[in-house]
Amino acid sequence: MAATSEAVVNPAHVETTKKPPARYWDELQDGKDDNKVGKDGEQTGETLPQKHVEKAKKRKNDEDRGDAKKFISGKPDPFPGPAHISKDRMQKFKRRDKTKKIPRQHYKLKDMMARSDEVSEMAQKQAARIDLLLPEDAGFLEGDEDEDTCTISQEDISDAVDITSASKYFDLKLSQFGPYRLDYSRTGRHLLLGGRRGHIACIDWQTKRLMCEINVMESINDVKWLHSEAMYAVAQKKWLYIYDSNGIELHCIRKFNDVLRMQFLPYHFLLATVSATSFLQYLDVSVGKEVAAINTKTGRLDVMCQNPQNAIVHLGHSNGTVTLWSPNQKEALVKMLCHQGAVRSVAVDKTGTYMVTSGMDKKLKVYDIRAFKPLKSYFLPAGASCLSLSQRGLLSAATGDIVQVYRDVWSTPVTKPYMAHRVQRTVWGMHFCPFEDVLGVGHGEGFTSMLIPGAGEPNFDGLDSNPYRSAKQRQEWEVKALLEKIHPELITLDPTELGQVDQATSQQKHQDRVQALGFDPLAKEKFIPRYKKKGRSSAGSIERRKRQVANEDLRETVQQSSEDKMKIEKERKEREKKEVLLSSKKSALDRFKK
C-alpha cells in the first residue's frame, strides 16, 4: 500500500515546477501514461524542456527494461530484470565455449547440447553472481613520488599498520640449531620449522602458541606439513619420519632414504620426495603406500617444486635442466633446458601458468609452462638461491642474506624489487604464508616473518582451506577431502585430458592391457607334446605330433575363414535381394509371384 501511494507521489516530487494536482479527467485525455512517454517521445515536445531531458533518460530506462514486470503499485521497476554481471567476472567462471550448431543433428543430440549449454550458462552466471560474496581485495604498497617501495623497511611498515598486522612481523632468534627450513600449513595458521641440526618446532604463528618442540638429534633436510596440521613429515639424515603435532613419532619410513626435498600434493594425498640417490618417490599418506618410485638417473636431487594446478612435480638438475614428472611415467614428461649452469631453485605459480627458475648462471627466468616457452629473463647480480611464489603472484628471491620480493615478473619487465629485506644470515628456506600478507624466511639465525602487502589471497574458500576452522570443522573437512581424494593415476600434464575421448587404436589398447596385466590374455599357448614312453617320444614322432596339431589349427582357421566368407556372401546376397525389392516395387514379373 505504501508503494502505491509513493508511486503516485513520486512524479510530483520529481517535477520542479508546481503543477496542479492531476485529475483523472485530465489524465484520460493526454497524460494517459507517464510511464509510456518514453515510447512516444514526440508527444512530449510541448512540455517543459527540463522534463524533456528527464524523459529522455526515462526512455533509456524503458528500453533496456524490456519486459519488466509491472508491480502492483504501478510504479515501474527502476532496476528491471536480473542484476547485471560484469563481463570479466563472467569470464572468470567460464568453463567452456558455447558449442557450434551443426545444421543437421539428431534431435537427441540437439536437445542434449542445448541442455548442457543452458546448464553451463546458468552455472557460470550463478557462480559469477555469488562471486559478490568475495568482497576482499588485495592492495599493494605504494611509495610516494620518487620513493622506491623497496627502500621501505619492515619496521616502518609494522609501525604504520594496525596492531594485529604489526604482530605478524617478528623474528625468532634460534642461532643454536643452524639454518632453518620452514613450511606453512595449507590454511596458513600453522608454521613448521626445521633446523638443520635437528630442531623441530610447530607453532600456531598468529597466536605464537608453540604446539610442540623437539630435537631429533639428527640432521634435518626438509620439513613438510601433511594434509592437516595434525601431522608432518621430516626428512632426516637417513630416513623419512612422520610426526604428529605433539611431536610423537608416528612412522619411520625406511623405503624413503636420503630424502632431500619434499612436496605434498594435497588433493591426491601424496607426499613426493626426492633423494640424494636420484630417486623420486611418491607416498600415499592416506593409505601409507608407496605409489611410485622413479629413478630419475640425474644425480643428486635437491631442487623441487610442484605445479599446484596439475600436481606435476618439477625437478631442477645440475645440468641446467628442469624436468617434469608424474607418478605414472618412468621417464620425464618434459625436459627443459633452462640455465647454462645448475638450477638452484624452481617455483610454479598457483594457476599453473608460469614457472620461475634461478640458476648458477645468476639468471632468473620466467617460463610459460603451458607452451614451454621462456617469457622473461633477468640477471640477478648475486643469483637467487631460493624462490617462492605467493598466491597473488609475488615472487620472492633470496640472494645470500637478502630477501627480495618482485611484482609481476611475467607481464612487465622488472628492474627493481618491490620489497627488500636483509636477514641476519644466509637464507635457507622461504615461503609465503597462504591467505596472509606474510613471507616466512628461515635463515641461519632463526626465522623471520615479513610483511609483504598484497601477497596473500584475501578471499579464502571456507570449504577448501579455512584459516579459522574449528577442530570439528577440520575433522569434517578431512573426511570430505579423503572422500574426494584424486587417484594418482589421474595426474597428467593436461588436467583436462580425463575429459577427452581416448582415440587410441585397438592395437594400442591391447598393448596397454598387456602391460597392465603382465601377460597377453589373447595369446595362444604353445603346444608342447607330452612325453611318451616306449620310444614313442622320438624326435621324429614329436615333430610329427607337432605338425599334426599345427595342421589341425590351420584347418580350423581355414574353415573358420571360409565360413565367414560364406556368411558374408550370403548376407550380401540377401541385402541385394532386398534392395532390388525395395528399388523396383513393381516389375513385370511381379504378377507371377504369389
Binding site: 550463478q126 622506491d148 618434459v334 648462471d361 614451454f372 627493481k416 575429459g499 602391460q515 597392465a516
Partner: protein, 786 residues
C-alpha cells in the same frame, strides 16, 4: 458324392457302350456347353460331371421309358449267373443314389435377368427403386469382374487393417515423442500441480451456462459491472486512477491510522486472551451468553432462517457436550477436585459449579422457534413450508458446508472446539469469516471495527484495480524484446565468425614458424663466424667452452639452437612483416630478449655459505661448478637420441641365398633387398619439434586411458561435441546449490505409493492442446534467448 457317381457312371458306360453310342453323339454339343458352364470345377471333376450329365440328359430325354428300360435291363441281367446277380444288387443301390442326383427341370439352363424382371412386374410388393435398378442392370452390358483370389483379398484386407491401426497408433506419436524428449517426467503424469490454482484460470475456465447465469451476466455486462473480478467497475477504476497528491496523502494517513488501529486492536485482544482470571472469563462469558440469547430471541422474530441455523449449532454443541463429558467428573481437574472435595469446601463448590455448567450446556434450548419448528414438522403435509426450510437440508447437517449452500462460510470454522464457544458467543457467525472472529469477542468497539472493515474492503478494491490495470501496458511492451532479439543475434554471429579463424591462424603460425626456423638453420650454417662475435653477454665464457667440445656432427645440430638464442633478431623483422597478428608467446621474440639486470638496493654482505657447509658431497659441488661447460651439447645429444628412438626403424627381411646364389662375398641383389625392406609410416611430428630447448616424452599415458571414455556415445557426431558436454564440472564444490540440483535432476520421478495408470485416450486429447501451447511457448522462449 462325385466319387460315387463316378463309379456308377463308369459301370454304366461299360455296360451301355454298345447301345448308347449314338445317343451320346447326339447329345455331345450339349455337353460341351455344360462344360463351359461350370468352369471352376477341377478338371477331373469336370469330366466326370460332364459324363454324368450326359446320362442325365439321356434320362431327361427318355423320361419314364428310360427308367423302364433300365429296369428291364436289370431284370434281364438278373436272370444271368451268380455274378450278374451281384451286379444287380449293386444297381439297386444305384437306384437309391439316383434320388440325390435328381435335378430340377431346366437346371442346366441359364437364368436370364429378363425372366426375373417379368415376374417382378407382376408383383406389386417390389419397390419402384429396385425396379429401376434392375432395369438399368438389364440394359447395361457390363459383366461383373470375377472375384479376387483369396490371397489377394486377404492381402488387401490386411493392408487396410494395417493402415487403420497405424493411424490409430500415430496419434500417440506426438505425446510419446514429447515424453521421450522431456527433461524430467513426473509420474503419475496427469497430476495437477499442487497448491492453489490461480484465480484467473478458475475464472476463465468457467462459463455461464444456465439461463439464470446468462441473464445475470448479461445484466452485469450491460451495466458495465466487472465480471471476472467483481470488485471494481470501470468507472470506479477510472476514479481510482485519478488521485491527486492530497488524496494520496489523505489515503496514506488513513492507512496509517488503520494500521495503528489494527495493531491496537490486536494487542488488546491478545491481552484479553492472556488474562488468566477465571472469574473475569466467567463474567465475560455470562455477559456474552446473555447478549446472545437476547439477540437470538430477536432473531427468531426477524430472521428465522439464521435463527434456525443458530439453533442447530446450539444443538450440535449440546450433543457434543453430552458425548464428551467435558464438564463432568472425567477431566483431570475434576478428578483432583473429587479427591479434595472431602476436605475442601471450595473444591466441592467448584465441582458443583462445573456440574451446573454441564447441565446448562446439555439442556435443550426451548424457544419459540423451536416449538414452531416441531409443530411445522408435524404439519408438513398440510401447511406450506416457509422458504428457508426449502433452502437446503439444514438442521443437523450444518457441519457440512456443501449442504448448506453457503459458500462464503469457512468450513474450518465449524471445528468442534469452536462450536463450544459459539453457543455463548455473538451472532456474527453468519457474517464473513474474516470478520467473524473479530466480532465474536468484541461488541463494544464497533467504531474500530467498522473502520477496519472499511479499510479492508478498500484495500481489496485497490488490489483488484491494480490487477486490472497491470496487463494494459503489456500490450506495448513486446516491441522491446523484439529489438533485443534483433540486436542479440549479431553478437554470437561475430563470435562464430571469429572462432573458426583461431585454429587457422594457429596453423598458419605454426607452418610459418617451422619454415622460418629452417631458414634460420640454413642461414646460420653459413654464418658461423659472426656467432662468436655475437656472444657478448655474460654467458660468453660458457659458449667458448662449448665450441671447444663440439664435434663435427654436433656442429650441425648446435647451429640450430645457438642462433635461435642469439641471432634471431636479424631474421625476425622479415618474419614480422609477413605475420598478421601475434598470438601467445613467440619463441623468437622471447629468446632474443636480453636479460634485464636488476638492481638491488641492498648488496649481499654474505656469500652463499650454505655451500661451504655442504662438505659431505664435495664431488657434487665440483661437478656443479663445472657443469655449465657442456650443458647445451649434452642436452642436444639427448634430444637427438630421443628423436631417433621414436623414429620407426626399417626392417630388412632379405634372406641371402633364397632365389639366387648365396656365398661369402655375394650380396643379395638390390631389387630383392628393396622388395623385402619394410618401411613403416613416419610418426606424427613431435610436439617439441619447434621448441629447441625442450624434450617432450611421446610415450602414451596408459594409466589415464583406463579412465577415459573409449568410444563416442550415441547421439554425438564428433569428439568435440561430447567433450564440450562433459567439460563443465557437476559437483557442489564448483557449482551453486541450485545448479547442482538442476544438473542432477532425475529423468523420471515417481511418487511413492501412487498408482501409475497407463495413458488414456482422453489424456491424448488434453495433451494435444498442451503440446500445441507448449510448443509455441517453447519457440517463444527460444526466440527470446536469441
Amino acid at each position: 458324392m462325385a466319387k460315387v457317381s463316378k463309379k456308377k457312371v463308369s459301370r454304366k458306360s461299360v455296360r451301355k457302350s454298345s447301345t448308347v453310342t449314338e445317343k451320346i453323339a447326339e447329345v455331345k454339343p450339349d455337353v460341351v456347353y455344360d462344360d463351359g458352364d461350370d468352369e471352376f470345377l477341377s478338371k477331373e471333376d469336370g469330366n466326370i460331371s460332364s459324363e454324368e450329365e450326359e446320362e442325365e440328359e439321356e434320362e431327361d430325354g427318355g423320361g419314364k421309358d428310360e427308367r423302364k428300360r433300365q429296369k428291364l435291363l436289370e431284370a434281364i441281367s438278373a436272370l444271368g449267373g451268380k455274378r450278374q446277380k451281384k451286379l444287380g444288387e449293386r444297381s439297386e443301390a444305384a437306384v437309391l443314389m439316383s434320388e440325390f442326383t435328381v435335378n430340377a427341370e431346366g437346371e442346366g439352363d441359364k437364368i436370364d435377368l429378363s425372366d426375373l424382371i417379368g415376374s417382378m412386374e407382376k408383383t406389386s410388393a417390389v419397390p419402384a427403386k429396385t425396379k429401376k435398378q434392375l432395369k438399368n442392370l438389364q440394359h447395361s452390358n457390363k459383366t461383373i469382374e470375377c472375384p479376387l483370389s483369396k490371397q489377394e483379398s486377404e492381402r488387401i484386407q490386411r493392408d487396410v487393417a494395417f493402415r487403420k491401426a497405424s493411424t490409430e497408433v500415430t496419434r500417440w506419436k506426438d505425446i510419446i515423442k514429447q515424453n521421450q524428449r522431456a527433461e524430467q517426467l513426473v509420474f503419475p503424469l496427469d497430476k495437477e500441480p499442487t497448491g492453489p490454482r490461480p484465480m484467473e484460470r478458475m475464472v476463465t475456465g468457467w462459463k455461464a451456462q444456465t439461463p439464470l447465469e446468462q441473464e445475470i451476466f448479461a445484466l452485469l455486462s450491460a451495466n458495465k459491472q466487472p465480471i471476472n473480478d467483481p470488485i471494481l467497475t470501470p468507472a470506479e477504476e477510472a476514479s481510482m486512477r485519478a488521485m491527486s497528491l492530497e488524496e494520496a496523502k489523505i489515503r496514506r494517513a488513513e492507512l496509517q491510522k488503520a494500521r495503528a488501529l489494527q495493531s491496537y486492536y490486536e494487542a488488546k485482544t491478545r491481552r484479553e486472551r492472556k488474562i488468566k482470571s477465571k472469574k473475569y472469563h466467567k463474567v465475560q462469558n455470562k455477559a456474552k451468553r446473555k447478549e446472545f440469547l437476547k439477540k437470538f430471541e430477536e432473531m427468531v422474530k426477524t430472521d428465522p432462517a439464521a435463527a434456525l441455523e443458530e439453533l442447530s449449532k446450539i444443538e450440535l454443541a449440546r450433543m457434543q457436550e453430552r458425548m464428551s463429558l467435558k464438564h463432568q467428573n472425567s477431566g483431570k481437574w475434576a478428578k483432583s477436585k473429587v479427591i479434595m472435595a472431602k476436605y475442601d469446601e471450595g473444591a466441592r463448590k467448584a465441582m458443583q459449579q462445573q456440574l451446573e455448567v454441564n447441565k446448562e450446556l446439555t439442556q435443550k434450548l426451548v424457544t419459540a422457534l423451536n416449538k414452531e419448528e416441531e409443530e411445522e414438522e408435524e404439519a408438513v403435509d398440510e401447511e406450506v413450508l416457509p422458504d428457508f426450510v426449502n433452502d437446503a437440508e439444514q438442521g443437523l447437517h450444518c457441519s457440512n458446508p456443501w449442504m448448506r449452500g453457503k459458500l462464503s462460510e469457512d468450513p474450518a470454522e465449524k471445528e468442534l472446539s469452536e462450536n463450544m464457544d459459539l453457543i455463548t458467543e455473538g451472532p456474527g457467525a453468519v457474517g464473513n469469516p474474516a470478520e467473524e472472529e473479530e466480532e465474536e469477542e468484541e461488541v463494544v468497539e464497533t467504531e474500530e471495527e467498522t473502520l477496519l472493515r472499511e479499510f479492508d474492503s478498500r484495500r481489496k478494491r485497490r488490489q483488484a484495480h491494480e490487477a486490472v490495470t497491470a496487463p494494459v501496458p503489456e500490450e506495448e511492451e513486446p516491441q522491446v524484446p523484439d529489438q533485443e532479439e534483433e540486436e542479440e543475434p549479431q553478437v554470437p554471429d561475430q563470435e562464430e565468425e571469429e572462432e573458426p579463424q583461431v585454429p587457422d591462424q594457429e596453423e598458419e603460425e605454426l607452418s610459418e614458424f617451422t619454415s622460418l626456423f629452417q631458414g634460420i638453420a640454413d642461414s646460420s650454417r653459413e654464418a658461423e663466424m659472426p656467432e662468436g662475435a655475437a656472444d657478448t653477454n655474460p654467458s660468453a665464457q660458457l659458449e667458448e667452452g662449448l665450441v671447444r667440445v663440439r664435434t663435427l656432427e654436433d656442429m650441425e645440430l648446435l647451429s640450430q639452437p645457438a642462433p635461435a638464442t642469439e641471432q634471431l633478431p636479424s631474421v625476425a623483422p622479415q618474419a614480422d612483416t609477413t605475420r598478421k597478428r601475434k598470438r601467445g608467446i613467440e619463441l623468437k621474440e622471447v629468446l632474443t630478449k636480453e636479460t634485464k639486470v636488476i638492481k638491488v638496493p641492498l648488496a649481499p654482505t654474505m656469500e652463499d655459505t650454505e655451500d661451504s657447509e655442504d662438505k659431505l658431497d664435495q664431488r657434487g659441488l665440483i661437478k656443479e661448478a663445472f657443469a655449465g661447460d657442456d650443458v647445451v651439447a649434452d642436452f642436444l645429444k639427448d634430444k637427438r637420441k630421443q628423436e631417433d628412438a621414436a623414429k620407426p626403424q626399417v626392417v630388412d627381411l632379405t634372406l641371402p641365398g633364397w632365389g639366387e646364389w648365396g656365398g661369402t662375398n655375394l650380396k643379395p641383389s638390390r631389387n630383392k633387398r628393396r622388395r623385402f625392406r619394410i618401411k613403416t609410416a613416419p610418426p606424427p611430428p613431435r610436439r617439441d619439434q619447434c621448441l629447441p630447448s625442450i624434450i617432450m616424452s611421446e610415450k602414451r599415458n596408459s594409466s589415464i586411458s583406463l579412465h577415459q571414455v573409449n568410444s563416442l556415445p550415441f547421439p554425438f557426431q564428433n569428439h568435440a561435441q561430447f567433450e564440450s558436454t562433459i567439460r563443465a564440472p557437476l559437483g557442489r564444490t564448483w557449482n551453486t546449490e541450485q545448479t547442482v540440483r538442476k544438473i542432477s535432476k532425475p529423468k523420471v520421478v515417481t511418487q511413492l505409493g501412487a498408482i501409475i495408470e497407463p495413458m488414456s485416450r482422453e489424456e491424448l486429447l488434453k495433451d494435444k492442446k498442451q503440446v500445441s501451447a507448449g510448443s509455441t511457448s517453447h519457440v517463444d522462449s527460444w526466440k527470446r534467448k536469441r
